[in-house]
């Protein structure tokens, strides 16, 4: 399982998203690598990833990737991540 967490710059918001996604994946018992990436890197990595996690504003720019795109409204709400990741993966 490969997951890419995407933000505009790849240094801030995507890193926060990656950290909380890893926590939730561990709770769910799912083995996955989560990579934080900026938009342009994500467009490359996205072709190999199963899932792309990002913010609602960036979803339109990521359309066209074969990965499933999941948008997260509240990065620090583990319940939202838990609900959306389990719906996609379980």
């Amino acid at each position: 399982m490969k997951i890419v967490a995407v933000c505009g710059m790849g240094i801030g918001t995507s890193v926060l998203l990656k950290m909380n996604a890893e926590k939730v994946l561990a709770q769910l018992g799912i083995e996955a690598t989560v990579t934080a990436a900026d938009m342009s890197t994500a467009r490359q990595l996205g072709f190999e990833a199963n899932i792309v996690l990002t913010t609602p504003e960036l979803v339109p720019s990521l359309q066209g990737l074969p990965a499933e795109i999941i948008s997260i409204d509240h990065f620090f709400d583990l319940a939202e991540l838990h609900r959306k990741l389990s719906a996609a993966l379980l």
Partner: protein, 134 residues
């Protein structure tokens, strides 16, 4: 602090990064350019924005600044407006500031700590608190 626009809030956290020697003055413009280019995607939780630009020559060392807004400001985020806390983040590369971000994620995941930051009576107390946990 009171500001009347999202741009003014970003200018303020940019000034704080420059004043503490973490960036040159040019970094503020780079953060504003991100807002213009990609929109307010960095408003990542209710009331919380983390403004930043990519690593560049304007960044002297990794840093974090914070403006707590006495009057909430609309950033244009569908889910998370209005914004009450604006962080400014700068980094020299993709990895050097990870521990600080991990600490910040812990703080911002906890309502009690978020409320403490929102309601602290002065900047000194916020600084002291964040310095102790990040």
């Amino acid at each position: 602090m009171v500001v009347d626009s999202r741009e003014a809030a970003i200018v303020r956290v940019g000034e704080l990064l420059a004043a503490s020697g973490r960036t040159t003055a040019g970094y503020t413009g780079e953060m504003l350019a991100v807002l213009n280019e990609l929109g307010p995607y960095f408003v990542i939780a209710p009331g919380i924005a983390i403004a930043h630009a990519r690593p560049s020559e304007s960044v002297l060392s990794a840093g974090l600044s914070l403006a707590v807004l006495a009057k909430p400001v609309e950033f244009g985020s569908d889910h998370n407006d209005p914004v009450r806390m604006v962080f400014g983040l700068c980094a020299k590369d993709h990895d050097g500031h990870i521990e600080v971000l991990a600490g910040l994620a812990e703080v911002l995941s906890d309502d009690a700590q978020v409320n403490f930051l929102l309601n602290a009576s002065d900047a000194g107390r916020i600084h002291e608190y964040l310095a102790s946990v990040l």
